[in-house]
């Protein structure tokens, strides 16, 4: 049964640690506080799902963790060292993927290794290993536009895994897929996670997806983004979307999420009335 906790209890040195992290943006309408005073720890090998209404700063949080963006205040640590920029120990899988259309599948997967100056033969070996892992060996010479949506996701997954990062940061990676493909990729991701022991931070607005995948589901509030509540998901694995226990847990999380969604909707209406 899910256990609502106010603070994650950490036994060992956290893989990722955020201390009082805030991020605000200057916009035409004034200062927009995307994240405010966030305290958070992610354990090594943990699968953490971040859930919240759109505009709660989930993606901002991932960019901060990736080092692609800097916090306005607070500090971010990985393995006890401050995060100061992007690094191949933390790879983001974006919703739009950002696969390079001018490269073949294999060249896409090898990109990170090439940037590290890894030799051609080793690059080949390692990219083939990961392409096998995501069942795409047959498509290594294809170009990205020739693949289906689900296949593109798997290329992105292989491209991220090939540099052997400790942490995968996934930004709604399956949002644009049809239900069947998504379910298949859930299975594959759960398997990869179990096999590789990576730490995964997974952003989604789909509560069922979060409960299906995560060890812990964290709910963010709408503007400014703060931690609303956390749920430890102790359901046995492998899990299936149709499991009744899973649905029950998801309902509990959803009830809390609804409050935030309503807040978001209200804010939108107010904006419209004011304009």
């Amino acid at each position: 049964m899910p256990l609502e906790t106010t603070q994650a209890f950490v036994t060992r040195e956290a893989k990722l640690r955020l201390e009082g992290v805030s991020r605000s943006f200057q916009t035409a309408r004034g200062l927009l506080v995307a994240l405010e005073d966030l305290h958070l720890e992610v354990r090594e090998g943990e699968f953490l799902c971040l859930v919240g209404p759109s505009g709660c700063g989930k993606s901002t949080l991932l960019s901060l963790l990736a080092g692609l963006d800097r916090p306005t205040a607070g500090e971010i640590w990985m393995d006890g060292r401050p995060v100061e920029g992007p690094g191949t120990d933390r790879i983001v899988i974006f919703q739009e993927l950002g696969l390079f259309p001018w490269l073949t599948v294999q060249e896409n997967v090898e990109f990170g290794l090439r940037m590290q100056g890894v030799g051609k033969r080793e690059r080949r070996e390692r990219s083939q290993h990961y392409l096998r892992l995501v069942h795409l060996s047959r498509f290594e010479t294809s170009y990205v536009h020739q693949l289906s949506g689900g296949m593109k996701q798997r290329v992105a997954l292989a491209r991220s895994l090939v540099t052997e990062p400790d942490v995968l940061l996934m930004d709604e990676p399956f949002a644009a897929l049809d239900a069947q493909t998504r379910d298949l990729l859930h299975e594959e991701l759960a398997r990869l996670w179990a096999e590789t022991g990576k730490t995964i931070v997974f952003v989604t607005h789909n509560v069922r997806e979060a409960v299906r995948l995560g060890d812990r589901v964290m709910l963010l509030t709408f503007r400014p983004g703060r931690i609303k509540s956390q749920f430890d998901i102790t359901l046995p694995r492998p899990r299936h979307l149709e499991d009744p226990e899973l649905a029950l847990t998801a309902r509990e999380v959803l009830a809390q999420l609804k409050e935030e969604i309503n807040k978001a909707v209200k804010e939108e209406y107010n904006h419209e009335e004011n304009h």
Partner: protein
């Protein structure tokens, strides 16, 4: 196949009409030559090597001028795209200069460089540089942010990020710019040569006029058209097709 036949038939029809019109002798032959006499001029031009020499001189000039504007234009375009200050200043200037026909640079070039190769080079560069610059800038600015994020995330930075992400990602626009730049360069060169006389195909054209030799005028015009088309079809179309095949229909994934 169907397209080729259609095109061939069309051109045959065009020559036939030309033949009939010249057979009717409505205009004197020195104003309206027959297809045969134009063909004869082409042959004569090649056999007395005057066409070859003119072609050689023009090709050397365009090679140098176009090469220079490609190099400068791509560099300038990238700089304008990534630097806001340059965009607001130089970027605006480039756009206004683009509205100047390249021949407007000729008086200035002649005053600065005299009747030298440098002057014609200057006209060619000014004619094509801006098109390359503008297209490069547009290309770089249209590179989806996601590619840069993904590249940085995978460890690319500075020069590697430029070479392996920014440059290939802006290639479709870049090629369009190179193609347009080529067309402008070729036009500027020929017009420049026509006025600033000293060898080259444009010079041959004017020589035909001076000698009242309409056949030669038409022959040189055909030659100029042929070169322009060959480069456009062979070089640029091949490049464009290759990119299209790689990227597919959609440009952003």
């Amino acid at each position: 196949m169907k397209r080729t036949i259609r095109q061939l038939a069309f051109y045959l029809w065009l020559v036939a009409v030309w033949q009939i019109l010249s057979d009717l002798k409505i205009w004197p032959p020195y104003l309206f030559p027959t297809p045969q006499s134009v063909l004869e001029s082409v042959r004569a031009g090649f056999s007395d090597r005057s066409f070859l020499i003119g072609l050689g001189v023009s090709m050397k000039r365009i090679g140098l001028g176009y090469g220079l504007s490609v190099l400068l234009g791509i560099t300038l375009g990238f700089l304008i795209a990534v630097n806001e200050f340059l965009r607001d200043t130089v970027g605006g200037l480039v756009l206004s200069l683009q509205s100047l026909p390249s021949l407007c640079w000729l008086p200035l070039a002649v005053l600065w460089f005299g009747l030298t190769e440098k002057a014609i080079l200057f006209v060619v560069v000014m004619g094509s540089l801006l098109a390359v610059t503008i297209n490069t800038e547009v290309g770089v600015r249209h590179v989806p942010r996601i590619y840069l994020l993904a590249g940085r995330n995978l460890g690319a930075n500075g020069l590697p990020l430029f070479l392996h992400v920014l440059l290939p990602a802006s290639l479709p626009h870049l090629i369009a710019g190179l193609k347009q730049g080529w067309a402008f360069a070729w036009r500027s060169l020929i017009s420049g040569e026509m006025i600033f006389v000293s060898l080259g195909l444009g010079h041959l054209l004017m020589m035909g006029r001076d000698l009242n030799d309409m056949s030669q005028v038409l022959a040189v015009m055909l030659l100029i058209m042929a070169i322009g088309q060959i480069v456009d079809r062979v070089v640029f179309e091949t490049l464009e097709n290759r990119i299209r095949r790689k990227w597919g229909v959609a440009s952003a994934v």
